[in-house]
Amino acid sequence: MSIDLEQFHETFFEESFEGLDIMESGLLELEQGDVDLENINTIFRSAHSIKGGSGTFGFTAVAEFTHDMETLLDQMRNGERQVSASVVDTLLGCVDVLRSMLNAIKDGSEIDADNVADMTNALKGILGGESNSEDTAEESTSSTVPAKGWSVLFKPELDIMKTGNDTVRLLRELNSLADRVEVLVDNESLPTLDDIDPEECYQSWNINLIGGDVTEDDIIEVFAWVDDECELKITALADEENYTGVDRRDEERRESAAPDRRAIERRNKPAKATESSSIRVNISKVDELINMVGELVITQSMLSQFGEDENFNETHIERLKDGLTQLETHTRELQESVMRIRMMPISFAFQRFPRLVHDLSSQFEKKIELIMTGETTELDKTVLEKIGDPLVHLVRNSLDHGIEAPDVRVQNGKSETGMIELSAYHQGGNIVIEIKDDGAGLNKAKILEKAKQNGLVNQDDRLSDDQIYDLVFRPGFSTADVVSDVSGRGVGMDVVRRNIRELGGMVEVKSTPGKGSVFTIRLPLTLAILDGQLVGIGEETYILPVISIIESLQVKPECINEVAGNAEVYRLRDEYIPIVRLYQIFGIEPKSAVLDEGLLVVVEAEGKKIAVFVDELLGQQQVVIKSLKTNFKKVEGLSGATILGDGTVALIIDIAELIDLYQKDMASVVSIKGGGLAA
C-alpha cells in the first residue's frame, strides 16, 4: 500500500513554522534570565517535532540539522549545560536557518547550504564535536546467514505480558521469517493450577528456524521490544550443506531507500500548485455557523409556506413580516459568524517583536523593555497579514528615533531602560493598535524646518503641534533626517500611512517632548463589510462609513463663515469646521446648492474634521465592499463601491482621502485640524 506523503506537507510546514515561532519566543524569554524548565521543555518539543516530521516526510537535511539543535536542547533540559547568552544566540540563529530551510523547501528553491553549514559548525562547536555515534552503535551485529538456520532459546520473564506483549505474537513473527519453524515448548516451570497467576508467563521456548535467509538481526528485531524481559540465545544450527543466499538486509535497505529518493525528487518540483493559504478555525465557531444555517433553513421553510398558500390574504401579511424580520436577524448573525471565522488574534502579528526588539536593541546599543498587551484581540486575517510591515516600521522607528541612548536617558532623569509598549484593543467597530515609547518625542522644530525646505508648508504658515507631527506622514518627507540618520529601509512614514489606508484604516501620532510618542493605528475589523450611511446628492447615492460620522445637522445660516479664497467653515459649538461640498468634488448636479436646504454630515479622520454637504440622509445599512481597484481603477476619495438593495451601484467615500482632496483643492488657504481652526 503506498501513501502519498505529500498531502501532509502543508500541515507539516504550517506546524513547523508555528513551532519555530514558539522556539523563538521561548528562547527570548530564556535570555532574560528566566531559566524555566517548562520553557526549555517547550522549546525542545518544538525542535523534536520538526525533526520527527521532517524525517518522516523525507526532508533529510532539515532532520539532520535539527538533530544537533535537539541534542543541545536536551542537554539544557537535563541540566547538563548552562543556559548562556551565546548558546541562546546560537539557537536563535538556528531558528532562522531552519526557517529559511523550510521556506526554501516549501517554495521548491535551493537551500542556502553555506548558511546551514555555518550554523551546523557553530552547533558542533558548542557540543564539543561529540559525535552522534549513538545512532549507529547499535547496529554492529552480524548480518550473515548461516547455512541451515538458527536455534533460538526464548525464556521470557514472568511479567512479560504486563507490558501488552504477547508471546504468541513473537512466535508468529518468527514463523513468518523462515521457511520452516520447529517449536518446542518448555512447561517445566509451570506451577500447579492453584498457584497459577493467569497474568504471568511460565513457559519458555526452543525454536528452530530453518531456511528463508534469516539473519541474526532479523531475529533480534522480533525480540527488540522484549529483550529486557527475557533470556534470549540465538545460535546457528549445525552447518550441513553449503548455502548461498542473498544478503537479505541489503535488499531491504534498497527497498526502504526508494521512497526517500522519490520524496526528494518531488520536492525539487515547483510546489506552487499546492500552495493555498489555510486558516485554522475553532470548532465552536463552526458549530455556531451550523446552528445559524439551521435557523435560516427553518425561516426559509416558514416563508416558503406563504408562497405555496393559494389563499394568501391580508392576515398572512403580519406573519410574512415576522418571517422577513427573522430572516434579516439570521442573515446578519450568519454574516457575523462567517466574519468571525476569518478573525485571528493579533498575537500573530505581535509575536515577531520580542525578537526584533532584542536584535535591534543590541544593534543600536539601547536598553529596551517591550511590553505587549491585548494580544488576544482578534482581527481579520487579511488585515492581520498586511499590518505586519507597517507595525515593524513603527516599532523600529520608535526604537531608532524615539528611545534615547542609555546615557542620554540617565542625564534626562529617566531610567536607563527605555520602554516600548504595543497594545491592541477594540473600540467601536474598530481595532486600535498603539505603539507607545517613552523616548524623546518628535522634534518639532526639525520637522517644521524640513517641511519648509521641502515646500510642504509655507514659510509663514502657523501650524498647531498636531499638524506639525502629522507632517511626518507626508510623502516626500524622508524620516532619515528627522531625528537621526539611522534608517536606510527605503520606506517612509508615508508608505506606512498609505498601507494602513489601503486597509481602510488610519494612523496618527501624538507626541510630548521629552516624554515620548504614541502612534495610534485604527483599523476596521474586516475589509469585506462596512456599516454605511447612505446619503443622496442629486440623483446619486454615496456611502459614508458610519464609524467616521460624528453628527449630522441642519444648517443654521448664521453659523456659516466665509474665509478668504472661497473656503467656507461652519461654526459648531466652539469649533470651526470646513464645509466640503461633495457635488463640487465629484462634479455632479445637486438638488440644491444652497447650504440651508441640505444637511451637513460632520466626519472625522486622522484627527481632522470636515462637514460634508449632502442633499439628504437616506438610511443606514451594512454594505459589502467591492473593490474599485480590481474592477475598475483606484479613484481618489473613494474606498470602493457596493450594490444596493435595488440593484444600483453606490460609491463608498474614503473620508481620509476626501479630506486630502479637499485640502489640495483649497491649497494652503485653509488649514484643518482636530480642534478646528484657531479663531
Binding site: M1, S2, F8, G52, G53, T163
Partner: protein
C-alpha cells in the same frame, strides 16, 4: 475492525498515522496530548495505542503509565513513537508499561507492518 488511538502533538504526524491506518481499514481516534488521550481511552475502548513521547500537558510515558494502571488496558498493546537516539526513552517507556516502539522517522508501510504484527 480494530480501534486504534493515535496520540501526537504534531498534527502532520497525527494526520499521517491516522490516514495510513484508516486506509488499511482500522478505526482511528486522534488525541493531541497525553491527557486528552487518557480521557478518550477511558471513555471508549481501544485495541491498540500509538503515542508520541514528547508532548505538552502530559507526555507519552506518563500517559502509558497511567493507562496501563487501568483495568481495561492491562494487556492492551501500547506503542511509542520515538527517535532512534533515545534508547533511555525506550527503557523509560518499557518501565512505564509500553509494549514496544516505532522508530521515527518511519514510513506508512513500516507503520502498517508493525500494527499488523501487533494486532495479529
Amino acid at each position: 475492525m480494530a480501534n486504534i488511538l493515535a496520540v501526537d502533538d504534531s498534527s502532520s504526524m497525527r494526520q499521517m498515522v491516522a490516514f495510513t491506518l484508516k486506509g488499511a481499514g482500522y478505526q482511528v481516534v486522534e488525541a493531541a496530548d497525553g491527557q486528552e488521550a487518557l480521557n478518550k481511552a477511558k471513555s471508549q475502548s481501544f485495541d491498540l495505542i500509538i503515542t508520541d513521547v514528547n508532548m505538552p500537558i502530559m507526555d507519552g510515558i506518563t500517559f502509558i503509565k497511567n493507562l496501563r494502571g487501568e483495568a481495561n488496558y492491562k494487556f492492551t498493546p501500547m506503542l511509542m513513537l520515538t527517535t532512534e537516539s533515545s534508547s533511555d526513552k525506550k527503557a523509560a517507556g518499557k518501565a512505564a508499561g509500553a509494549t514496544g516502539w516505532i522508530v521515527k522517522p518511519f514510513n506508512p508501510d513500516q507503520l502498517l507492518n508493525t500494527v499488523k504484527k501487533v494486532l495479529g
